[in-house]
Amino acid sequence: MNSLVGSPPLSDTTEHLTSEPKPRKPLQDQPLFWFAPALVLLLVVTLYPLAYVLWMSLQKTRYYELAGFVGFENYAYVFSSREFIDSSIASLIFVAGSLSLAVPIGVFAAVVFNSLGRYASFFRVVTLLPWTLSMGVVASLWLWLLNPSYGPISYAMSQLGLPQSLLLGDPDLAIWLLVITTAWWSFPYVMVMTTAALQSVPKELYEAVDMDGGNSVVKFRFVTLPHLLPTLGSTALNLAILYLTIVTLILVLTGGGPLGATATWSYQVFNGTVQTVNIAPAAVYSVVVLVANLMLGYIYVRSTGRATG
């Protein structure tokens, strides 16, 4: 006689007391199964090249061939060279300078256009134009503008009685002209991101400031800016990473010169890989850029953590 006949069904709380294991989900029901192709692709195109560059930086190279493990010799060679110091200074000025111009100008443009009502779209489209141009086109355009012999800027300077300058040919000035060119090209990106963020600012807060008698500056400082900060942080991080990896603009505008004044870390990677075919030091510079980008990301994560409390 079946002892279970007529017995009440086992409750849920007693199911775990049974000795039978939980049946496994079929493979196609497991989330990882569906993510696997994308994950594999991601690993192949990011982690593998990264690992290979790290490996290359520890090797002696002869043109494109690896010629033997040398430990940190390449790092010692690069870090003790004058070129590394010069490149580090150039990279710092380039990134910090471009951000210092692009972010405030982008925010200013976004705030001003936001108050233009129905004409805002037109101005936004026109202002976006530099960002739509390729870096090669931007550099060619500014190469002409900044030509010391027949460029319009040089001509305007002579008409204003300003002393003639070599402009891009001046080692002390070239990096700042590169900063201006880069800021001109990239500030529309800040404008677009800021415009989007401005739409999320509650209107009631502005009304509250009005009721308290606050002016535009007060509104911007105590209402607009706090709401924009997270967006500006991520935008600045994206731009900083972009600036650190820019090569085309520098290659066309200055070729890394004059006297190496505009040879940033990424330019040194290009130089070592394509021009002089000295791969090992180029790999070291690649690692330096990677570390710098990771640090920027860490700073961003820590600072936005504090800002959002």
């Binding site: 494109y64 012999s149 006297l259």
Partner: protein, 429 residues
């Protein structure tokens, strides 16, 4: 109604037949060799391209079963990287002569000594004998054409000032002193990178290599790793360059000029004269300078001093999978038949026997090319090139720019070039 079984068998039979036909077809298919060139077949405005196409058609006609596919890269950068990374393609490459030491050192090129012997190529039927083009006793590239620096100038500007083309650097200085004013550059001495593969390539190729060697002194050793120019010769040449900027009125803005800027300046007339490449003459005439553009032999320390010659060679990829066919193409490209076609495309071809007269030499272009070929025979020489031309040009350009911009001395420039190049060689070897 056809049963499924019969349909399946029919499909299987058709697939097998198709596969068999494919294999048979492949066995009888033409052999395709890839020829990497800086000339784009799609550019129908360049007469050199038309000449190249004619040469390749003639080759294919003479060699049924072999097809040539042209791989275009005007800067040569991509296919030369392919060579250095041991790719099997392209099979045949057109390489600028001063890059050959680097590709030979990386084991990318097959020596052509056997080809010269088997095809009975006359080693003396060249504007510069083949023996002079060897590296470490081996020939790695068969010369296609030669270029010698010439003095290119705007006739109207020199004539208006009562000046003649210079024979010496001192005379070039006088031209610069007289004509460099009101936005014009009398004689452009550019140490920039524009249009080159990196560093002061135009300057090194067209001026400095001639200045420091004068046809006699050594430039680099056979391996291309040792800079052999004496301090005395380097300092004299560097001082000459510095004097152009400090005494001869060459505007400092010209310091950053490379190939592109000098080309544009001569075209527009903002540059009155320059020592430049003969291969640019026709293009500048066509682009706007017209009949106002003229040329003369290039200046040197002494009148008729020796000038460093460069040119394209055709070489065999050591990793090519079609070496026999590739060698046939190389031999054909260097043959008098192909060189005669290339001559009428505008090149100053390397084969001497091609210049024996004919209707083409009655034309202005033909007369010019004949005159240039005589100049090459009379004043040209092949210097021993550096192993890494870009590393050398980068060091040279920065050292000389520092000399002008920061008032460094020529001796300091010499030390900088020597030490930087040596450092680059120590790192790369």
């Amino acid at each position: 109604m056809i049963s499924f079984d019969i349909r399946r068998r029919s499909l299987l039979a058709a697939a097998t037949l198709a596969a068999f036909a494919g294999m048979v077809g492949a066995a009888f298919a033409d052999t395709e060799i890839v020829y990497a060139s800086n000339l784009d077949p799609a550019n129908n405005k360049d007469p050199r391209v038309a000449a190249q196409q004619k040469i390749l058609q003639a080759f294919e006609k003479a060699n049924p079963g072999v097809k040539v596919k042209v791989l275009v890269d005007p800067t040569q950068a991509s296919y030369l990287r392919a060579l250095k990374s041991k790719s099997a393609s392209p099979d045949v490459v057109k390489v600028i002569g001063f890059g050959v030491p680097e590709y030979a050192a990386t084991g990318s090129l097959e020596p052509l000594d056997d080809l010269v012997a088997s095809e009975k190529i006359d080693e003396n039927d060249w504007l510069i004998p083949l023996s002079k083009a060897k590296i470490d006793g081996h020939l790695y590239g068969l010369p296609l054409d030669y270029r010698i620096p010439i003095f290119i100038y705007r006739k109207s500007l020199l004539e208006a000032a009562g000046l003649q083309p210079p024979k010496t650097w001192d005379e070039a200085c006088k031209i610069s002193q007289t004509l460099s004013k009101e936005g014009k550059i009398g004689y452009a001495v550019g140490v920039g990178a524009g249009g080159g593969l990196g560093g002061a390539q135009a300057f090194g190729e067209l001026m400095f290599s001639s200045m420091v060697t004068e046809g006699a002194a050594e430039y680099f050793d056979a391996s291309g790793t040792q800079f052999l120019v004496s301090e005395e010769k380097f300092v004299r040449a560097a001082q000459t360059i510095k004097d152009f900027y400090t005494k001869c009125n060459v505007p400092t803005a010209a310091l950053q000029f490379g190939y592109n800027e000098i080309h544009d300046g001569l075209r527009a007339g903002t540059v009155a004269s320059a020592t430049f490449g003969l291969y640019r003459f026709g293009a500048i005439v066509t682009a706007g300078a017209g009949d106002d553009l003229a040329w003369a032999p290039g200046p040197a320390y002494e009148p008729n001093g020796k000038q460093a010659v460069y040119g394209y060679v055709v070489a065999l990829n050591k990793n090519s999978a079609h070496k026999d066919e590739a060698k046939k193409l190389i031999a054909f490209l260097g043959s008098p038949e192909a060189q005669a076609i290339a001559l009428e495309g505008g090149e100053v071809v390397a084969r001497a026997s091609v210049y024996k007269g004919g209707p083409y030499f009655e034309t202005d272009a033909g007369k010019r090319q004949a005159a240039w070929s005589e100049l090459i025979k009379e004043r040209g020489f092949l210097p021993s090139y550096p192993l890494s031309l870009t590393a050398y040009n980068l060091a040279l350009g920065e050292a000389l720019q520092r000399m002008v911009l920061r008032d460094a001395t020529p001796k300091e420039a010499y030390e900088e070039v020597k030490s930087r190049y040596q450092r680059a060689m120590d790192q790369a070897q």
